[in-house]
């Protein structure tokens, strides 16, 4: 090192105190930095959901057997789905609520399809930390608002599956779906 620093030829072409060696240093380190980033990207990206997981198989569900007041639980993308046939009283309950005062303001109309507002289709994944709420199967607790109740940390959802009480920040998620006939719905 010391030898190089005092070697007059090393300072040849030196302007404004910048040496050729500084340029080489910066260039080499920058190039190595680009290389590190280029290698880090695939290393990080491999953790993202893989193609087979993303290939979201859509499912078709026949609703004809679900009576008003009943609900079923099925599975889509490895996550539970709740399909509920609301009774007229439950629909009325959901509509009575002042939407503006809700934690996650959404009306029942916005969460169902026009003319099919008795069909409440949501993910069965509590928006708090992801437990499956109770209330889809007969005899399960439905919480203070008659919809769903998550026992993990006590989140209560109403008859439009909107969060009303407890730690969950959002309403139960309504997945993308469409009615393919009067009684068959395609999710995903």
């Amino acid at each position: 090192m010391a030898v190089v620093e005092t070697d007059p030829s090393a300072n040849a072409g030196m302007e404004d105190g910048v040496r050729r060696r500084d340029f080489i240093n910066i260039a080499a380190v920058s190039f190595a930095g680009v290389g590190v980033v280029a290698v880090a990207l695939p290393l990080v990206n491999q953790m993202n959901p893989s193609a087979d997981v993303l290939a979201l198989a859509s499912i078709e569900v026949d609703l004809s057997a679900i009576q008003p007041g009943q609900a079923i639980k099925t599975s889509w993308r490895k996550q539970p789905i709740f399909i509920r046939n609301l009774t007229p009283a439950e629909i009325e309950d959901a509509k009575k609520v002042d939407v503006g005062g809700l934690r996650d303001p959404e009306s029942l109309e916005a969460r169902t399809k026009p003319g099919k507002e008795n069909w409440l289709i949501t993910l069965g994944v509590c928006t708090h930390l992801g437990c499956v709420p109770l209330g889809a199967a007969a005899g399960e607790l439905r919480g203070d608002f008659g919809g769903y109740f998550c026992p993990c940390h006590g989140s209560h959802y109403d008859t439009a599956a909107r969060i009303r009480k407890g730690p969950a920040p959002k309403n139960l998620v309504v997945p993308e779906y469409a009615f393919t006939s009067d009684t068959v719905v395609q999710i995903g």
């Binding site: 959901p49 893989s50 930390l129 920040p169």
Partner: protein, 420 residues
């Protein structure tokens, strides 16, 4: 560093002399845990837990490596492969129970080790770096234990993974993508199980590396002691070997006896029966609880039930839970009292025990279902936890008049001897 009066390593055997020139490993051992390392003469049994934590780590690594020879990290067979270990593999039940209860023993000794640091003020200068590295080890241990618990792929494994990775979805905007990135899917499944296994195998070795730094940092000032008074001269110390090798050996024997009792007579005492039910993504167990060593933190997580200051309750809970541990990183700068040992701090002593009581209450609340009175109790206890570190501790360390300290370790030891 070592004290000037430390004994020097002088190998006499020609082979050891040859070795000392080629690879001075025996010299390193001699100066680190041998006769060449002077240690305060008055260390009590609380100073055993560092070595015991090291022993627990070795037990986890050895049992873990052999379990990995029989375990399969695939959602379809993981649960069955663990049952295969329990029923078919020779001595498999022993190895699995040793690993599961070994984790419990590990946390018991580390909690006592941290307790020692808190009570005797070991976190203060000049040992801040020792403490900081300790907190890093603690965080790594928690991550390792969590991922290990997922591997048997029972109901509690699955829902634990769902809830813990759910913490990340509390982060605004990027939270949900981060959660999916961690899981490699929309819910815990094969991808998550596989990566957790890979990391569960890796992290203990990272812990081992950080322990080396931890002990390196410790050996610069040397160990503290129950009086908190620094070593002044040779009288205050004894060589590590044979004094503390013997004391640590005795402690290790006691540790192994307790471990054996747990392992052979009550291996499922702390296990959740519902984890012997295979993972079912469509049904959450009625009551999700983490392992006992996470209960206090779980109580803090659940303490927030309403939004305030525009931040949702869920995010508050997650922030509070992480901060409760991250607070330990700034502890050396929150406590300004020049006196280390709580023994000489008449006012702080009360608050210290109150904090211990508070943590026990938090633990109980974390174990109970999310219903009253546990929610309210957990909220009060969480508030007190933060108040202790952020309000009480800085004030007390400013206004307190400590008791007179002994002039030296030797004086304290002799005074105690006379009184007895």
């Amino acid at each position: 560093m070592s004290f000037p009066w430390a004994k020097h390593y002088e190998p006499t055997h020609p082979f050891m002399q040859w070795m000392d020139q080629k690879l001075p490993l025996p010299r390193l051992v001699y100066n680190a845990i041998g006769a060449g390392y002077p240690v305060p003469r008055n260390l009590n049994y609380f100073w055993n837990f560092g070595v015991l934590a090291g022993a627990a780590l070795v037990i986890q690594i050895v049992t873990g490596i052999v379990l990995a020879m029989h375990y399969a990290a695939n959602g379809a067979v993981a649960f069955d492969s663990v049952e295969h270990i329990m029923r078919d593999v020779n001595s498999g039940w022993f190895l699995r129970y040793a690993h599961a209860n070994g984790a419990t023993m590990f946390f018991i000794v580390v909690y006592l080790h941290i307790f020692r640091g808190l009570y005797f003020g070991s976190y203060k200068a000049p040992r801040e770096m020792v403490w900081l590295l300790g907190v890093v080890i603690f965080l790594l241990m928690m991550a390792t234990a969590f991922m290990g618990y997922v591997l048997p792929w029972g109901q509690m494994s699955f829902w634990g993974a769902q809830v813990i990775t759910g913490f990340f979805s509390a982060i605004p905007v990027v939270g949900e993508p981060i959660r999916q990135w961690l899981l490699g899917g929309f819910a815990p499944d094969n991808a998550a199980l596989n990566r957790f296994f890979s990391l569960h195998y890796l992290l203990p070795f990272v812990i081992a590396a950080v322990i080396i730094l931890h002990i390196w940092a410790l050996h610069i000032p040397g160990s503290s002691n129950p009086t908190g008074v620094e070593v002044k001269d040779e009288q205050d110390t004894v060589p590590f070997h044979p004094y503390y090798t013997a004391k640590d050996g005795f402690g290790l024997a006691i540790f192994l006896i307790v471990f054996a009792v747990l392992l052979f007579f009550a291996p499922n005492m702390l296990a959740e029966p519902v984890n012997y039910v295979p993972a079912n993504p469509l049904s959450t167990p009625a009551h999700i609880v983490p392992e006992w060593y996470f209960w206090p933190f779980y109580a803090i997580l659940r303490a927030f039930t309403v939004d305030f200051l525009w931040v949702p309750a869920k995010l508050w809970g997650v922030i509070a839970m992480f901060s409760s541990i991250l607070l330990l990183f700034i502890l050396p700068w929150l406590d300004n009292s020049p006196v280390r040992s709580t023994t000489y701090r008449p006012l702080y002593k009360w608050f210290f025990w109150l904090l211990m009581f508070d943590i026990v209450i938090l633990g109980i609340c974390g174990m109970k279902p999310a219903a009253e009175p546990w929610v309210r109790m957990g909220q009060i206890a969480s508030a007190y936890y933060f108040a202790h570190f952020l309000i009480i501790l800085p004030i007390v360390s400013r206004i307190e008049r400590p008791l007179p300290l002994p002039n030296s370790i030797t004086e304290a030891v002799l005074a105690k001897h006379k009184a007895a």
